[in-house]
């Protein structure tokens, strides 16, 4: 009986989790059948212009952003730059790349820093401009901003050989009118 109850609870939890994941996926995607009017914008992965890397696979990118990989092939230390929790860009990354929740991500980094697997905690910046400037100033930095926030001071990486403008690029962020207004204010 106890086993049965545990099985049912597990199924229920899985269903809830599935529902949550589905909803988040719908939010970050291009216009879908569920929300055909939604507007999306690609999320660009940016590095310093001196960085020799120009292409990463989704798996490599995930490794880097989880802190599992600490140095670039050139020997430079990798510095992760992230937006504050709750920001759409961070949510999109959580959904599309990390595929974990905010708390899981926090736990992951806390655990990694505690065990010494992760050497430096990610830098949290308030604005997209801050992210861009940080990447510009730090040769080993990697971060993410909307494609519209990119300028010539940083370099945009290909992910799975696709640039943000290319069809099939995975990292996309759904924005609404209200959010657009908020961004306009932020900029």
């Amino acid at each position: 009986m106890t086993r049965f109850l545990k099985f049912v609870a597990g199924l229920g939890l899985a269903a809830v989790l599935l529902a949550l994941v589905s909803r988040e996926a719908a939010r970050c995607a291009t216009p879908t059948s569920a929300n055909p009017d939604a507007i999306t914008e690609p999320l660009a992965i940016i590095v310093n212009r001196s960085n020799t890397i120009s292409d990463l696979s989704t798996a490599e990118l995930r490794h880097i952003f989880l802190g599992d990989r600490s140095h670039w092939p050139s020997g430079r230390r990798i510095t992760l730059v992230m937006r504050e929790p709750g920001e759409p860009e961070r949510k999109c990354m959580l959904h599309d790349l990390y595929q974990m929740s905010e708390s899981d991500l926090k736990n992951h980094f806390l655990h990694g820093l505690f065990t010494g697997d992760i050497l430096v905690s990610p830098k949290i910046l308030a604005t997209a401009v801050g992210v861009r400037k940080f990447v510009f100033n730090v040769p080993g930095a990697i971060g993410y901003v909307r494609l519209s926030d990119v300028d010539g001071s940083v370099k945009v990486l290909r992910v799975d050989e696709l640039l943000p403008d290319d069809r099939g690029y995975r990292l996309k962020l759904e924005i609404s009118g209200a959010k657009q207004d908020a961004r306009a204010k932020e900029n």
Partner: protein, 495 residues
């Protein structure tokens, strides 16, 4: 010996002063305005040079100020922004907030851009070898510091504070010290250049001041010289006039005294009963009459001269034929001519037009000329030419009748020709020869000629003779017809 030298020097100076006086006396009375214009032109030219000089000095001073002050300001700005670059980098070390660190990163980059631009300007403007070398070194050291600063900044942003401090201490501090040293050298170089420019400006100003003093002194001396020359000229003129008047008084006294002495002597002889017999009395009477007439003529001439200026209104202008004039002149001078044994040769061009004038005045004018021809004519060749011909006025506007009185006497010096019509003027040569006269005859004759609307000219050559020509405007035929037969007082014909 010394006294002799002194005497010679004095004599030379006297000659120089005399020569100077001659030049001043000859040139200045006629060209005073020209001299003043010349002085004005010289002063204007000198003034323009002085102004240009002052302008150059001012421009030099302005350039010196601009270059030096701007240079020092540029160095000051470079030093300030270099410190700002470093200060903002070090401030980034004091916080763990990445957003704040980014603000400091922005500040340090803004400041370093200012320094980089100022260094580029300095390199561009550098023209001296030392300056170019210093500019290149500064640029190199600054680039080196910036590369270390970038590393330090990256370490700070990465969160590696310890690494950033180590990097800054090992590389940032020494390279920044080199930059500071370079900037100090730039400042010293500017100071040296400013001192050099200041010295140049001071030297230029001194030269300008000396030139200004020199030119002002020269202008002052020139002006004083001109004023002195003009005053001297006037003084010489006044002295000459006074001398002429003194000579005139002496001459008149002498001219009066001679007949007076004759009259006195004759009167004494008659009163003392020394003159007896009809023939003797007749001779004495004729002598007294001649002397009285001579005195009367002299006094009349003086009075005529004195009143010649306002006499034109009292002249009676009438049409006169040339023969009418010449007959009257010959008649008037018959006694004088006969007495001196001179022969008058009269030549008149046929069909001469009549002239308009006052007959007594014209006779007086020509009688003076004939009297002079008798007085200064040759003692061997006692000949006087009295000719009349047709001519054209100097400005070629009307026809003239020319009546010339010529002699073959001593002639007049070329230098004296300009003065013979001056009142009271008597040639030193005739004074020395003790030929009596008042110096008024020619002046009076010229005034009469001009009052008649004509002129009196002279052509003369030493030891050859002189020829005085009276120019009288000719009357046209219609003018003659329109005039009444009787002579009426009239004004001077307008020409």
């Amino acid at each position: 010996m010394r006294a002799r030298k002194k005497t010679e020097t004095g004599a030379n100076t006297g000659k120089l002063v005399q020569a100077l006086d001659r030049i001043i006396g000859t040139v200045l009375p006629q060209y005073t305005a020209l001299v003043l214009v010349l002085v004005f032109c010289v002063v204007a030219i000198v003034g323009s040079f002085v102004m240009r000089d002052l302008e150059t000095a001012n421009t030099s001073a302005e350039n010196m100020y601009r270059v030096s002050v701007q240079g020092l300001l540029q160095v000051g700005e470079m030093q300030y922004f270099a410190q700002e670059t470093r200060r903002a980098t070090l401030y980034a070390l004091t916080t763990n907030d990445s957003n704040l660190q980014l603000d400091y990163a922005d500040q340090t980059r803004d400041a370093d851009r200012q320094v980089t631009r100022a260094i580029a300007d300095y390199r561009h403007e550098a023209d001296m070898p030392g300056q170019v070398e210093l500019a290149n070194r500064l640029s190199r050291d600054w680039a080196e510091y910036l590369s270390i600063r970038d590393e330090v900044l990256a370490s700070i942003l990465e969160g590696s504070t310890k690494e950033a401090v180590t990097l800054d201490l090992s590389g940032g501090v020494p390279s920044f010290e080199r930059v500071k040293q370079d900037l100090n050298e730039v400042r010293q170089l500017y100071d040296q250049q400013a001192s050099q420019r200041l010295a140049n400006v001071v030297a230029t100003s001194r030269r300008s001041a000396l030139r200004l003093i020199g030119t002002l002194g020269f202008t002052f001396l020139l002006s004083m010289g001109a004023v002195w020359a003009i005053q001297r000229s006037r003084m010489l003129g006044a002295i000459q006039l006074a001398k002429l008047q003194m000579d005139f008084v002496a001459s008149v006294s002498h001219e009066l005294r001679t007949p007076l002495a004759v009259l006195n002597s004759a009167a004494d002889n008659i009163a003392d009963g020394l003159v007896t017999g009809k023939t003797e009395i007749q001779r004495y009477g004729a002598m007294i009459r001649n002397q009285s007439r001579q005195m009367n003529e002299l006094v009349e001439q003086i009075l005529l001269f004195a009143s010649a200026d306002d006499r034109s209104e009292r002249y009676v202008f009438e049409p006169l034929t040339v023969n009418q004039i010449l007959d009257a002149v010959e008649k008037s001078t018959k006694e004088l001519v006969d007495g001196s044994g001179v022969v008058i040769e009269r030549r008149v061009e046929p069909d001469l037009p009549p002239v308009m004038g006052d007959l007594p005045a014209i006779i007086l004018c020509l009688r003076n000329l004939v009297g002079n021809a008798v007085k200064y004519g040759s003692s061997e060749n006692k000949w006087i030419g009295l000719t009349a011909s047709r001519g054209v006025s100097a400005n070629r506007t009307h026809e003239e009748v020319l009546i010339s009185v010529s002699d073959r006497g001593m002639g007049i010096d070329r230098l004296e020709l300009a003065h013979i019509f001056d009142p009271f003027y008597r040639s030193p040569r005739v004074v020395n020869m003790q030929i009596h006269g008042t110096g008024l005859g020619l002046s009076l004759a010229k005034r009469i000629a001009e009052t008649m609307g004509g002129d009196l000219t002279v052509v003369s050559e030493i030891s050859v003779g002189s020829s005085f020509t009276l120019h009288l405007p000719a009357l046209e035929r219609n003018e003659v017809e329109m005039r009444p037969a009787s002579a009426q007082p009239t004004s001077l014909p307008q020409r």
